[in-house]
Every structure is written in C-alpha cells, then in structure tokens.
C-alpha cells in the first residue's frame, strides 16, 4: 500500500513541479527509469511467489539503476553510447517481459 501511494505521490510531484531534466542527466534518465521498472516488476513477481524481501528490493533497485547508468556512461565514453543504451533497453525489456509473464501466470493461472 505504501509503495503504491509513494509511486502516485512521485507522479503527482513530477506533474506539479514540471522540472526540466539537466543536460548531464539526459542520456541516463530514460535508461534509469527502465532499469527501475525492471526492479519493480521483479519485486511484484517475488511478492506473488512469496519470496519478496525489502532489502533485496532496495539493493536491486539501486544497483539496477546505477549499473544501467554506468553502462551507458561507459558507452558514451567509448563512443558506442547509442548502441549500448539500445542493448541495455533490450535486455531490460526482455526481463520485464518475462517477469510480466510470470506475474500473469500467478494472477490468472494462465
């Protein structure tokens, strides 16, 4: 319950404040959001499986975001930032899909 409320609160804050993304963060923010989404889907799946752990979630969330940003940063330094961020998005997208499939099986038994 609290996490859902916090999520909505964040959305409302973002809508209300209308901040602009700093130029330095612009390449990393979309990747970070996708990585965080991956962590959230993993958490939901673990919750349904009954193996959810708060600490694991926090650590995986933070590390996901940091690793994704780091990979993109490295890619930018190496001159392959565009390709690497595409790769990160693809990998995270696959994980999100498989997590969503597991969640679907648990919820709908199908």
């Amino acid at each position: 319950m609290i996490p859902a409320v916090a999520l909505v609160l964040g959305v409302v804050l973002g809508l209300a404040l209308e901040p602009t993304v700093p130029a330095a963060l612009q390449p990393y923010l979309p990747i970070a959001v996708v990585a965080a989404l991956d962590a959230v889907f993993g958490a939901i799946r673990a919750q349904l499986d009954g193996i959810f752990d708060d600490r694991v979630f926090v650590v995986s969330f933070v590390s996901n975001v940091l690793v994704a940003a780091l990979v993109v940063f490295l890619g930018d330094q190496l001159g392959v930032g565009g390709q690497l961020s595409t790769g990160v998005v693809v990998v995270l997208g696959i994980r999100i899909f498989s997590n969503a499939a597991a969640i679907r099986r648990r919820v709908f038994h199908a």
């Binding site: 916090a6 999520l7 973002g14 959001v33």
Partner: protein, 273 residues
C-alpha cells in the same frame, strides 16, 4: 474486509500469513520500518523520474534528448537530403525552362501556320478578302457580243486583271448598275482553276455556275495599275466596245471579295516535302 486487530492493539499474536489472500493483506497492512521508507522513496523517485522523462520528451521533442552522435547523424542525413532536393530543383527548373521555350517556339510556329493559311486562303478562295481595288462592269445591252464570244471576253478581261496584279477576284452577273453585293447565287470566286464555258441558255458557265450579263468583276489590287491595264489601246475596254458591249471601271478604296469556294482535297497529289 476484515482488518487484522493485532496490528493495532498488539494484544493477540498475529497468525502467520499463509496463502495468496494473506500475502495481499500483508501488502495492505501499514508497517513502518526503515526499509519500507526506502522502498517508498525509491518508488516515488521512479514515478517522478518517469513523469519528468515523459514530459521532457513530449515538450522538447525527440531531438532534445538525442545524443550527440545521433544528432550528427541526423544532420548528415538532412544535409544529404538537402543536396538531393537541390539537385532535383535544378533539374526540374531546367525542364521547366525547356518546356516554356519549347511551347513558345510551337506557338510561334502555330501563328506562322495560321498566317500562311490565311494568305493561301486568299489565293485558293477559301477566305474572304478585302482591300483597295476596282469594279469592272461589262454589259451587253444590245446583245451584240453574242454568247459565243462572251467566254473569250471574260477570259481576256481576267487575264488582263491578273497581269496587272489582281490578288483576289470575284465575278458576278447579272448585276444591276451600282449594286453591291450581287445576289447570293450569281457570284463566283475566281481562282487559278476557274474556267469559262459557253452556255446555250444565254450566259457563261463559270465553274459550273451560270452567270449572265451584265457581268461585274470585283478585284482587289493596286487600283491605278488595274484601271490603266484595262484602258490601254487594244485592251479590254477597247475590245468590249469594239464588239458592241459597254464597260464601266470604278475604282474603290475598299472592295470586298466575299464569295467563297470550298477547299478541295487533292485526290492524288500529296505534299512531297
């Protein structure tokens, strides 16, 4: 919905949650530990960041968040496209110039062809002609010329007129003196192929049409030259009067040769050029 009383009172020990419903309930039960706060903060940050990203993409357009090499790539593409389109503009303008000048040429050719049609139409008798000229009347009031000699007289007169530069000629008859134009059926446009035949009905058959005295030539040409050619000694006027007929020559600044003849397609002859 049953609310677990243990969470609020802390009296009865909470039963260990088992099964799906219990797990969902544990989601809804408020528990505040440090790690819960961390989870909440992280999710709030996620929502915030997602909304910010979506808004910045919508407001500033996709180019604002594109990275440098992508922008360079896009710029290159645009430059190439610009060059291609410029080349296309050049070739299309070239084509337009060619078409425009070509149509100018064909219009000039068309105008020239129309002009030639008009000029040749005057010669062939397919268009009316008007201009300075004269009217020559040949009458035979006493019938002394006779129908045998009439074609000769008319042919002489015509040849004299042609020699004097007649450009368009029309022969009428019978005409009342001073009448212009003659009644519709009694006039013939005289062209190169015109023939004069004797006719037993007391007239002359001109191109298949019966004309009777008094005859009148309507001639477009230089009036003085034409008139002079008619009155020379032994000329047309002398000839007609010697045969017992009468002539009048009337110069005019504006003679209308209005009789037409149909354009006949040659059956065998084709333009060779």
């Amino acid at each position: 919905m049953t609310v677990d009383p243990g969470a609020e009172t802390g009296v009865s020990p909470e039963p260990v949650p088992t099964g799906g419903r219990a797990r969902w309930r544990s989601l809804l039960t408020p528990r505040l530990r440090r790690v819960d706060v961390a989870v909440a903060v992280l999710l709030a940050a996620l929502g915030f960041a997602a909304v910010v990203q979506v808004r910045s993409t919508q407001v500033e357009g996709p180019l604002a968040t594109a990275r440098q090499e992508d922008l360079v790539q896009i710029l290159d593409d645009l430059t190439n496209r610009d060059e291609r389109l410029q080349a296309e503009i050049g070739s299309l303008e070239q084509a337009r110039r060619e078409i425009t000048s070509g149509s100018g040429r064909s219009e000039a050719a068309l105008a020239e062809a129309r002009r030639r049609t008009q000029l040749l139409g005057v010669l062939a008798g397919t268009v009316p002609a008007r201009g300075p000229g004269l009217m020559l009347t040949i009458s035979d009031p006493r019938g002394e010329i006779g129908q045998d000699a009439l074609p000769d007289v008319l042919l002489n007169a015509l040849e004299e007129l042609r020699a004097a530069g007649a450009e368009a000629v029309q022969l009428e008859g019978p005409v009342a003196p001073g009448e212009q134009p003659a009644p519709g059926q009694a006039r013939v446009r005289v062209v190169a192929s015109t023939s004069f035949l004797r006719d037993d009905r007391g007239g002359v058959l001109v191109d298949g049409q019966l004309l009777k005295a008094p005859f009148r030539f309507l001639v477009v040409g230089e009036p003085t030259t034409l008139a002079t050619s008619l009155v020379i000694p032994g000329g047309v006027v002398d000839d007609v009067e010697a045969r017992g007929g009468e002539t009048t020559v009337e110069r005019s600044g504006d003679v209308l040769v209005g009789a037409l003849r149909p354009l006949e397609e040659p059956r065998y002859a084709r333009p060779a050029a």
